[in-house]
Every structure is written in structure tokens, then in C-alpha cells.
């Protein structure tokens, strides 16, 4: 269970997140939707520790994440697939995946998860010796997701996984997100593609200039007139 309470994040004098609260229950798919600059990525970075919040609390089960250095958060079972994929371009697919398992000691578990990642993304297995920088955008997204799965997460944060992908690939990625969730991983999804995100989400929040303005189940929000008007193109 991830519980965010009164979170405030600033860049210098500018307050990007103005005190938001939301939660992600175990096994859920929760999505944050919102326009460019609403603060979605900032929220994600605050949760994974890359940004230190100015105030508020982020609880993962019984642990206060804001008090833990960023590199130690991943071993608590929280992984993030960052916006723009950010794979290690000059390392091979396989090396990228092993970097995901960097903080793990269980050799057998790592090999099992590597097998799972390859069965989820067969393309990655075909290209395991290839430099990540030579992959297509879609393959890099798969690698970024596979790399995050290699950390052995109980909750996975996905930041704009569909960005820049062809409609066909977008469908594939969303299908895979559902599949990952079915295997027991909680998902927090940030998307500009609100229609797709709401379709797979159990619950959703709308983020507008640093505040949560609406919340409800994925279905509720997909039918909401305000959401339709602002995010679903009519």
C-alpha cells in the first residue's frame, strides 16, 4: 500500500506540487492523468526519491520513503520506469536487465525473473547482446519496463510508457501492463493518453497544476463530462 499525504514539491521558489494526497492499494492499477506540466513526473520522482519533497509524507506499507536515500528505495520493492525510458544506451540489453537486479543477492530469483522478463518481452531475448541505444523506441520502452521488473518490485511506477509509440505498440504496452498487474504487481501509471489509462485503471486521479481536482474509478472518470472535455477530446 502506497499512501501519499499532503505532498508538496518545489523547484526553487516554484511550487510544482501543492499538497496532494492519494493512495494506491495492493494489487490495484491507479492512474494519474493530467496535461503537460501538471506535475505528474514530479510526483513520480518524489515517490522514487529522485526529488526531495518540501513537505508531506510518502508511506510504502509502514516505511516513510521521504526519509530514505533514493538508491535504497528500490530494494523496498518500489521501482520506477522513468519518462523517456532512460535505458543505458551504451550497455547491452542483458547488461541493462542485470543492472535492474543490482541490489539483489538472490541469484536464483534473478535468473527466474530474467526468464519471466524474456517471456513477457520475447523481443528483448532476441536482442540480448545488442546495445540498448540501437533499439527502436518501442523496444527501449520494453527494456525500461523489463529492467524495472528485474528489481523485483511489488509496486511499479510507470511514467508515460506510451509516449512516442505507434498505436499498435501502445496497445501492446498497455496489454503488458495489465499482464504485469495480473501477476500481482501493483501499478501506478502516469499518462497523457488518458483514454487508454482510464480503460485499464481501477481508480484514477486528475492532476491539474499541482493539485488533485478529481478522483474516482477509471470508469467514472472516463464518463465524467469535465474529464471528457479536457482529456478525452470531447
Amino acid at each position: 500500500m502506497l499512501r501519499i499525504k499532503d505532498l508538496k514539491v518545489s523547484y526553487g521558489m516554484i511550487e510544482a506540487i501543492k499538497g496532494i494526497s492519494f493512495e494506491v492499494g495492493d494489487g490495484e492499477i491507479v492512474t494519474l492523468i493530467g496535461a503537460n506540466g501538471a506535475g505528474k513526473t514530479t510526483t513520480m520522482h518524489a515517490i522514487s526519491g529522485l526529488l526531495k519533497p518540501r513537505a508531506g509524507s510518502i508511506m510504502l506499507d509502514d516505511t516513510e520513503l521521504t526519509k530514505i536515500p533514493a538508491h535504497k528505495i528500490v530494494s523496498l520493492g518500489l521501482a520506477q520506469v522513468p519518462e523517456g525510458r532512460r535505458v543505458f544506451a551504451q550497455q547491452t540489453v542483458e547488461e541493462n536487465l542485470y543492472l535492474g537486479a543490482y541490489q539483489r543477492k538472490d541469484k536464483e530469483g534473478i535468473q527466474k525473473d530474467l526468464g519471466d522478463v524474456f517471456s513477457l518481452f520475447p523481443r528483448l531475448e532476441e536482442r540480448r547482446k545488442q546495445m540498448a541505444g540501437t533499439l527502436s523506441g518501442g523496444e527501449q520502452q520494453m527494456l525500461a519496463m523489463g529492467r524495472a521488473l528485474m528489481t523485483g518490485p511489488s509496486i511499479l511506477l510507470l511514467d508515460e510508457p506510451s509516449m512516442g509509440l505507434s498505436p499498435l505498440l501502445v496497445s501492446e504496452i498497455f496489454h503488458i501492463i495489465e499482464e504485469i498487474n495480473k501477476k500481482g504487481t501493483t501499478i501506478l501509471l502516469v499518462e497523457q493518453n488518458a483514454k487508454r489509462a482510464l480503460a485499464i485503471a481501477d481508480r484514477a486521479y486528475v492532476l491539474e497544476t499541482g493539485c488533485i481536482t478529481l478522483s474516482g474509478t477509471g470508469e467514472e472518470l472516463a464518463r465524467d463530462e469535465r474529464v471528457k472535455k479536457a482529456y478525452l477530446g470531447g
Binding site: P69, P82, F88, Y98, L99, Y102, Q103
Partner: protein, 291 residues
């Protein structure tokens, strides 16, 4: 035969530059900063080796190991005390701090050990192997061998160990590396430790060729090795190796065939030329972002 012997001497000198250049290039690759105090770590390494041989009467190998230990510790300490607090500061502040650390070390050495030059004991026997009228000194052979071993071990370490992979990940994208659970601070510490430890090797090799120890001993080799690192493509390990060797050869050939006084000027002129033609250095590459 003269040319061949100049070439081999150049490779010997270049090997020392290459080992020093590794320190610059690795630190730049990961911390994205120029550690201008690196040359002065060499100087400290030379003093440690000097005192352990002359005063403590240690044999060469233990003296080198002691020097490596002291330099490694010093490098990590410099990073922790001077650079770490500036992690989010501007590049200029870090650069000025590095120059400050450099002056601090030089003046501390002067205060502790006076500015008078000390003669480094002859640790490697003079003479060498003569073959067809071409003599290669022991010092040159040892220097080149040490450089090759260091290079091989380092490349294996960076490419095939878990820590090496993590270091490369940090050098590409610190944020993404952090998301993998890699402590960027720890990787930077390790990098400083390796670079400074190598500086100790370089100091002994340097003093075996030019046996005088004084507080500014590291300045010139430091700046030339920095040039070598830029020449080869800063951030690239094979680049530092190639840049170091080429720089050594150019310097010795210029000294032999053109002018002893102008040899340094020629070395730096070559650097300027290379940077005009290929701004990223010989093996450096610009990364493009994929969307």
C-alpha cells in the same frame, strides 16, 4: 635506429601520461568534473614513495603499495571533503575548488617537506637490453608493461564486473542508475579511489625516469596527462590510453627532431589542432537522444 629508440622512449613517457590520464578521464566520466588536483596527488605519491625508500628503508614493491594506499585514501578524502558538498553546485565552482585543492596540496607539501628538490633513489637498475644497436632501458620496459597491465585490468573491471557496469550506468544517467539502487556517491568514491591509486603508480614510474621530487612535481605531468585525456576523448578509457601514448611519442619526437625548448608548445599545439578538427577528441563520442 635513432627513430626507433625515440619512439620507444616516447611510448614509455606516454605510458606514464596514459596512467595519469585515466584518473582524469574516469573522474570526468562519472562525476563530470575536472579534478585539477590530480597532478598533486601524484606529487604526494612521489613523496610517500621517496620517504618509504630513503627513510624507512622499504624495498620498492612495499614502497609502491604504501604510496598507492596513501594516494587512494587521499583521493577519496579530497572528494568527500572538497567536491561532495558541491554536488549540485555549478561546474565553475567545482573547477575553482579543484584548483584550490591543487594549491593547497602543493603548499602543504612545501610546508611539510620544504621546497628543495630531493633526489629519488635509483630503484630500477640502469641499463637495459641492447639488440642490434638499439637499447631499451629497464625503466622504459617496466613503465610500458605496467601501463599495459593497468589498462587491461581496468578495461576488464569496467566491462565485466557488476561494479564496473554500475559505474558505466552512473556515467550515462545518474538518475536512472539511482532507480536501479546504485549509490551514485559510492561510485564516485570508488572512481576517485581508483584514479588516485593509479596516480601513485604513475608517480613512482615518473620518478624512476626523472628522479627529482619537489612540491610542484605533479603540475606539468598533470596538465599534460589532462591534455592526453582531452586528446583521446575525455570520458573514454581507451581514449586516455591512446591519447597518453600519442602525446608521449609526439613530445619525444618533437624534442629530438624539432626543438627541446619548443617540445611542450608543440604538444599543446597538436591538442588545439585535434580539437579544431574533432572537438570530442580522438575516441570521444557525442550521444544522441532517441525519441
Amino acid at each position: 635506429m635513432d627513430f626507433l629508440s625515440y619512439l620507444i622512449n616516447g611510448l614509455g613517457l606516454g605510458s606514464v601520461y596514459a596512467i595519469i590520464a585515466l584518473g582524469y578521464t574516469m573522474v570526468y566520466g562519472i562525476a563530470k568534473m575536472l579534478n585539477f588536483a590530480h597532478g598533486d596527488v601524484i606529487m604526494i605519491g612521489a613523496y610517500v614513495a621517496f620517504f618509504s625508500i630513503s627513510d624507512l628503508g622499504l624495498p620498492l614493491i612495499p614502497a609502491v603499495l604504501l604510496s598507492v594506499a596513501v594516494c587512494t585514501l587521499l583521493g577519496v578524502l579530497i572528494e568527500r571533503l572538497a567536491y561532495k558538498p558541491l554536488r549540485s553546485a555549478s561546474a565553475l565552482s567545482v573547477l575553482i575548488t579543484a584548483i584550490g585543492v591543487s594549491y593547497f596540496l602543493q603548499n602543504a607539501a612545501q610546508l611539510l617537506w620544504s621546497s628543495s628538490t630531493k633526489v629519488f633513489p635509483g630503484v630500477i637498475p640502469s641499463g637495459g637490453i641492447t639488440w642490434n644497436g638499439l637499447t631499451v632501458s629497464w625503466v622504459t620496459m617496466i613503465t610500458i608493461s605496467v601501463c599495459l597491465v593497468v589498462m587491461t585490468v581496468l578495461i576488464l573491471f569496467i566491462n565485466y564486473t557488476k561494479t564496473g557496469r554500475a559505474m558505466r550506468a552512473c556515467s550515462e544517467d545518474k538518475g536512472a542508475a539511482t532507480l536501479m539502487g546504485i549509490s551514485v556517491n559510492r561510485m564516485i568514491s570508488i572512481t576517485f579511489a581508483i584514479g588516485s591509486g593509479l596516480a601513485a603508480f604513475a608517480s613512482v614510474l615518473l620518478c624512476a625516469t626523472y628522479p627529482s621530487v619537489n612540491p610542484t612535481l605533479g603540475a606539468m605531468p598533470g596538465i599534460k596527462a589532462f591534455t592526453a585525456a582531452v586528446f583521446g576523448g575525455i570520458g573514454s578509457i581507451p581514449g586516455a590510453f591512446l591519447g597518453g601514448l600519442l602525446l608521449g611519442v609526439i613530445e619525444i619526437l618533437a624534442r629530438a627532431y624539432i626543438s627541446t625548448q619548443l617540445s611542450d608548445a608543440i604538444v599543446f599545439a597538436v591538442l588545439i589542432l585535434i580539437l579544431l578538427i574533432k572537438p570530442t577528441g580522438l575516441l570521444g563520442k557525442k550521444l544522441r537522444e532517441k525519441v
